[in-house]
Structure formats: structure tokens, C-alpha cells
Symmetry: C2
Subunit: 478 residues, 2 copies
């Protein structure tokens, strides 16, 4: 097992340097590579396959709810970006500008889309005429660009991939319901498919999206206690519709502005998967999005019948699972370490002794549990184990989040926790920006969200002592 | 049927103005919309659904052949684009340049990728070390940008969507085989899934891709006799590998350069579908990529039982087909015209009399044939009819291409055909650029390809009379 050890030692332990642990995994599991363009990455086959699996599941859910995919241009003329005041103020400082086409200087600069509200509104103004045209439920899968100064793989990059849903509705209520519904889709996807527990809530005004009336978020806790905003859903009212002159004839023949939402989830969630489930041996992938769900490792594969049996099992399993055999010349120990690094949820070991007993061994990545399985029950056992893995990963992550979530009633208590314990702090808030800014200053935290599930921790704001309006999750964030 | 007529009259007949006919269909079938960015379009839900179906089929075929999807950055630094001389000369005049990020001027300009050979090579230089790392079979689905002066929906736009495969191989022979194999995938897809007959062949040096050793193409003939280059596959030798210093340790331990291919198919093919199969009533879609394969139109839908029956049939059919019921208040005549415009391959009509007889009516879009089907044989009948449509569309297109393909032995004959008859001209060629340029000048045609299936039309070049080397398809092209 010398090679195995060597490989495992090659990852920096997370306790030693969490940031290094993260980038080690990203590189060694071959998820991405850096490029000669600052902040832009190559997403390699194994990383992209995870994203394709995420896309597949989410896209199906969006379509079941009546959404349709479209494709908008990647460029936004400066004048179009400028139409909604708060929006442009939020995004203009971080966009990339095209100023030349071929050898000619452009009359008007174009930015590479940082997000596409303006493009969707421009189109909606043309295709929405009557209440009969509503709702419009559009989504697109694409990449967007934000000129970030400091970047980290998946978590913050100049170009990143996402989906952005943009919908228009006849009434404010319908749009608000859509905003909540899509937040619910994200939360359900994170918890039930990715095993990532999330806190659903509303962002404070300070943290909301530029131009939105309300921003809702799901916040997950990473291994190091920091928060990752994992998906957002925005309610816009009719502000953009007015700025872009999107109108429709209502049921009473009056001219109205529709009500709007947008919602997005990005490749950032891959960073969330790594930092929620990963350990010092590498990646741990949820079965729903793992490019390989079962890796078959033949033991003593030179012995007659072993490789044949391994291939036979692969053929049986591939009808229902993503499965591969590694029949390379590497030792079983190397293979064990390699696919642990790659986070494959289940390892199937099959050797001469197993064949004699008409069984095989399944080993679960997330808790190393070993299960001996009679070969005639293989399909069922794999399905059951993957389901156990799904639940087990969620429970493990939830237990950790709970053990790293604290309540604070006084500012002193708040500072003490924030200084000494990584994690979330629950505390009451009066609703004033000044207190939010002060907590940032004295405790280094930002408001993560005002959770839908409120708790009554006290009557007064943890910061200023005035009457409290709401309980807030506070924390350091990616 | 007054409404139906009115709707049909709204498309310009192709005989009157082919270009207008084309854009009428694109707009009225709701495939795309123009935007405020010159040459960039919104691909609307119905158009994007066609592209998603194309993606799904091709992606599956690529993966079956061992290709893996990745994602490269959308930006290329100027210095990287400049590394291969012929390549940069071909593309630099038509790229969009980013010169500003946020409020800062960039030290080095970045272009938005017009194609990604340079990015793939830059990455391959880092990940290819040994012959054991080969072949590398990567593909990506993305959009690219070329600063075209004149644009047309799907056919030529500033931004367009495509897939680009980029592979590296140990030997020249393996790379050449890959080039041919992928051309074969495109040809098979066009002919068997899209019903578009294509001519496979090699491009002349004048028409080949900037930086390639050889470019292979599939050429389709549109309704107006013009050619559409529908997919290309390039062999690069080791030219890029040398320019980008991609090396590997060979089996004999020597340091070698790998051999490279790239191949692409784009949203242009949607233009090809429109112009191959469309008619004066609108779009005609091949079943494999039609967003709706069967549209159920209830007749006398206010009569008891009709809508229930229509929904019952939809439920039966949706297990195997993309099917919808139009139960809106529009008249059946309006619906017939509407889904003919949208190119739905099969219409299913069901009314009280049909229900009495326990039957329904199927009407094929491409040849208007009506088939009465007993309801207990519905699934089988729909499957059979869609197969008939697939074959029928191909045969119809093939017959038209054959009737519009001519041979010329002399320059005079060549000019006469090119002047008077839209279509392809087959003629012998000596291989000299001068003759290629002269035919462009005197007959307005370009060489489409040197087909793999050669014919012996004569011994001498149709232009200069010197000994001929090869038979070439000539034509006007999109
Ligand atoms: Zn306060
Ligand atoms: Zn000649």
C-alpha cells in the first residue's frame, strides 16, 4: 500500500490548510485546470461530467414546471445595460468590454453579459402583448463573465457557467410564488440529490441583487464553517418592466406592466459539493451527479476468470448505473486510492475468493463501510447502497452544520463566537444597515439570510439593543 | 378555412423571393428573433428545442465513440491566437476584442473565441506527457463569435452555437482516421436523422480551414440550388502541436508531437433543415429533431367526449413520442395551418365520427398523405408513419438534388449551366488555383468539394484544358 499512502499524502490535510486542501482536490481529481487567461478555467472531463449531471436533473425539473429554454446573445450594448439604474450600478464596475470588432472601433461598447435581465426584458418587450401571453417562463444555460479581482476554482471566476431563469407574470402574487417555487426547487435539489443541507431565507437589502425588490437564497455550510450561497431567486416587481417598457393588455383591456423573477444556480455548486463532502482522501460525490457511481476493481486480476467476471458484472450494472471497470496494470491499492480521490460513491471489489463464494464486496466512499453481497442480489444491493450513501451524506453534513451553529444574545457573546468558532451565528437584528455593517466590522461576518424558519432568540437586536425585527444567520462567506 | 388561407398567404412564396421566404419562416415559426446587437439573435423556445434535440443525438454518438466533453474559456489572449501563423491570419480580421475589464484597460487584448484550436493546444501541452495519454478525444458545446459584416438567421451570425471536437493522436494515420470517422458521423446524422442528403468530400486548398492540412466537408443542396456546407472535419498534422509545443514520450522513449483533428457542426444546420425541407406553407421538420412529433387536433371539440379522447390518445402516445394536444379555442383550420407552419411531422385529427368508428386520421406534413388508423393500432401506426416521413423526406430531397446537378465538359457549357440553372455543376479540374479563381469570376461559383465518390467526366480541366486531376462539385454557396 506504499503507493496508496503516497497518493493520499499528496493532498494537504484540510486541518492544515483548508484553501490548499481545496485546490489540491480540484487539481488531483482532475476537475479543472488553469489557463493563460486570468480567472478563466478549463473544466476537464470529470468536472464537466458532474456539471452535465447537474444540468440534466435541474433541466428536467424546470421543464416539468413549464419552463422553456432559449438562448440570448452573449453581448449587451452599453445603452441597454444602462436602462435600469440600480442594476447597472451593481454590474458596470465588473464587466468586460468589447470595443473592437475585427479592425474597427465599435460605435457603442458591448459588454459580455454578467447576467441577462436586460436582454430578456428587451426581448419580452417585443413578444408580450396580452395577458394571454403570460406567464413567460424562460431559462437559459450559458456562461457569464464578471471581472473579479481574486478568483478561486468554481467559487469565484471571471467566466462561470450557470442557468438563469427569467420569468414574467400577470400579477405580483404569481411572480412572488414563482420566486419561492424556484428557490424550493434549488433547496430540494441540494438536499435530496446533492446531500447538502441548506437554509432557505431572504437576503437583507444590503446583500440583495442589484435591481431586485427581494432576493431569496439557500445557504450551505462548508467544512470550514464558512457559508456558500448556493442558489438565488429574485423578485423584481415591475421595475425592470417599466424601465424596458414591457407592457401587456390586461383582462380589463388596460395596459399593464408584468411582474418579473429571475433565479440561478452555477458551477459554484461544484465547489459546494467538494467543501461539504470532501475529506483528506479526496472528493466524495453524491450518487446523483457522480460521473462514475460504481467502480469495479478486480483483485488478483491475472487469475483466470477474474476479469471476465468483472466485465460480466459491469454489463449487468450498466443497465441502471454509471459503472466502470479499472482493468489497468496498476495495483488494487493504487486503484482504491485513485477512486477515493475521485469520490466514486461505491467501490466493487471482485477477486478469486469472492468468485468462489459467488459474492463481491461493496465499499462506500463516504463512511468506508464494507458490505458483502451475493452476486445474484447485486443490482438491488447497489441501488440500496447508493440510496444509503445519499441519505448518509446528507445526515453527516447536517450533523456537522448543527454542531457548528451557535446563538448569540449579546454583542460580546457574538464577537467571542465569531472570533473563536468557525460556523454560523444566529442572532436577532433590528433591521438597520448600521448594525449589519458594525457586525461586519467588529466580528468579520455578513448576514447570510433571514431564514424562513425563524427562532425567537431574544427581543432585542444583538448589536444595538433596539427592538429586534427578525432572526438572522450570520457568518463568513465564500 | 379563411383564416388558414390568410395565414398561408402571410409567407412569401419561395419562387417569388427565396430570401424573404426563408426569413418569413424563421420569424413565423418562432425560431428566432433579432436583438439590438447587430448579428446576434435570440433563439426562441421552438428553435432552441430543435437545437437541443440535435445536441442530444450528436452528443450520444460522440460519447459512444469515446469522446469526452470539456469546457474551455471563451477568451483567447492575443499572444495565444498569434502562435500559429496561418490560423491567426484567417481569424484575426473577424474577431471581437475585449480591451477593458471593469474600468481598467487590459495589458493584453483578449478576443472572444472564433474557434478554440489555440485553447485546446494550450491545455493539451499541459496534460499530454506520454503515448499512454493518447488519444485525447475532447469536445465542447459552446458559442463562438466571428465579426461578420452581413448576417442571416442561423446561416451567418456574429455569435453562433456549435460543438467543436479537438483530438490528439499518437500517429498521423490515427488522426486521419478520426477526421474521416467524424465526417462520417455528420453525414450519417444528416442523411438518416435529418433527411438531408450530403456530398462527402475534401475542400480545395483555397477553401480549407486556416491552419489545417486538409479540410473535409459535407455539402447539402438547398431548395434554391445553393450549397450549404453542413459540417466540417479538419486534419492538422502536427503543425499546431509544434507551434504550441505539445509533446509526448513515444513508445521508443523519443519525444514526439501528436497529430491533431478538429470537427464541428453548428446551428447553421437549422438553416439547412429549413431550406432543404420547407415549403410555402412553412417549416417541415424531420421527426428526429422536431420539438413536437405529433400534434393532436380535436375536431368539433365542444362535442362530448372529444377532448377526453384527445387527452387519452396523448397519454398513450407520450410514452414514446413528443406529442401535444391543441385544445385552444382556435378553429381546426387555424390549427392545421399553424402546425403546418411549425413543421410538425404528423397531425392527428380526432372528432365525433372518428370516435364512433374507433379510429383517427393521421396527416403527414411533408406529403399531406392522409391515413386512417384504428385506435387500437395507434402507437404502431405513429411509429411506422414517422419512419415513412423520415425516409420520404430524404428521398424527396435526394431526387431534387439529383434533378439539379449537372455535368459540364467545356467552359462554355459550364457558364451556360451556371448562368441559367440553379444547382451543382460537376466538372473536372487540373488542381490549379488560377482555374478555381477563374470559374468564380466567369461563372460565379466556388468549389464545394472534391467528392470521395469520383466520376470520370473527362480527361481535361474544364477551365484550362490541361490534364485533369479530380472531379469537383461547383456551386454558389451560403
Ligand atoms: Zn440594531
Ligand atoms: Zn485548369
Amino acid at each position: 500500500m506504499a503507493e496508496q499512502k503516497k497518493m493520499v499524502e499528496a493532498i494537504t490535510p484540510m486541518e492544515e490548510d483548508f484553501a490548499k486542501w481545496y485546490t489540491d482536490i480540484v487539481k488531483k481529481a482532475e476537475l479543472m485546470d488553469y489557463t493563460s487567461v486570468r480567472g478563466c478555467m478549463v473544466i476537464e472531463p470529470y468536472g464537466w461530467a458532474i456539471w452535465e449531471n447537474i444540468q440534466h436533473i435541474l433541466d428536467q425539473r424546470f421543464k416539468e414546471l413549464g419552463h422553456e429554454n432559449v438562448s440570448m446573445p452573449m453581448f449587451i450594448p452599453e445603452s441597454l445595460l444602462n436602462k435600469e439604474k440600480e442594476h447597472v450600478e451593481g454590474f458596470a464596475p465588473e464587466v468586460a468590454w468589447i470595443t473592437m470588432g475585427g479592425n474597427e472601433k465599435l460605435q457603442e461598447r458591448l459588454c459580455v453579459r454578467p447576467t441577462s435581465e436586460t436582454l430578456f426584458c428587451d426581448h419580452y418587450a417585443k413578444v408580450i402583448h396580452s395577458w394571454r401571453d403570460l406567464p413567460k417562463l424562460y431559462n437559459q444555460w450559458c456562461s457569464v463573465v464578471r471581472w473579479e479581482k481574486t478568483t478561486r476554482p468554481f467559487l469565484r471566476s471571471v467566466e462561470f457557467h450557470w442557468q438563469e431563469g427569467h420569468t414574467m407574470h400577470e400579477t405580483a402574487q404569481e411572480a412572488e410564488e414563482e420566486t419561492q417555487r424556484m428557490l424550493g426547487v434549488y433547496a430540494d435539489f441540494c438536499e435530496n440529490e446533492l446531500g447538502i443541507p441548506v437554509i432557505k431565507g431572504r437576503k437583507t437589502d444590503k446583500e440583495k441583487f442589484s435591481g431586485a425588490v427581494a432576493t431569496y437564497t439557500i445557504e450551505a455550510m462548508m467544512h470550514d464553517g464558512k457559508a456558500l450561497q448556493s442558489g438565488t431567486s429574485h423578485y423584481f416587481g415591475d421595475g425592470f418592466a417599466k424601465a424596458f417598457n414591457v407592457t401587456f393588455q390586461g383582462r380589463d383591456n388596460s395596459i399593464c406592466h408584468p411582474f418579473q423573477t429571475s433565479w440561478g444556480m452555477s458551477t459554484r455548486i461544484i465547489g459546494g459539493i467538494i467543501m461539504t463532502h470532501g475529506d483528506n482522501d479526496g472528493l466524495v460525490l453524491p450518487p446523483a451527479v457522480a460521473p462514475i457511481q460504481v467502480i469495479i476493481v478486480p483483485v488478483a486480476q491475472h487469475k483466470p476468470g477474474v476479469l471476465d467476471k468483472a466485465q460480466e458484472l459491469r454489463k449487468r450494472l450498466k443497465k441502471a448505473f454509471r459503472v466502470r471497470v479499472d482493468d489497468s496494470d496498476q495495483s488494487p491499492g493504487w486503484k482504491f486510492a485513485q477512486y477515493e480521490m475521485k469520490g466514486v460513491p461505491l467501490r466493487l471489489e471482485i477477486g478469486p475468493k469472492d468468485i468462489e463464494k459467488n459474492q463481491c464486496v461493496l465499499v462506500r466512499r463516504h463512511d468506508r463501510q464494507k458490505i458483502f453481497v451475493p452476486l445474484d442480489q447485486l443490482e438491488q444491493a447497489v441501488a440500496e447502497q447508493l440510496e444509503q450513501v445519499r441519505k448518509g451524506m446528507y445526515e453527516k453534513a447536517l450533523a456537522r452544520r448543527e454542531s457548528m451553529t451557535y446563538s448569540a444574545k449579546t454583542l460580546e457573546e457574538f464577537k467571542k463566537i465569531a472570533d473563536s468558532k468557525p460556523g454560523f451565528v444566529k442572532a436577532m437584528w433590528c433591521g438597520d444597515l448600521a448594525c449589519e455593517e458594525k457586525l461586519k466590522e467588529v466580528a468579520g461576518v455578513s448576514s447570510r439570510c433571514m431564514p424562513f424558519e425563524q427562532e425567537h432568540i431574544g427581543d432585542t437586536c444583538v448589536c444595538c439593543g433596539k427592538p429586534a425585527k427578525t432572526m438572522v444567520y450570520w457568518g463568513k462567506a465564500y
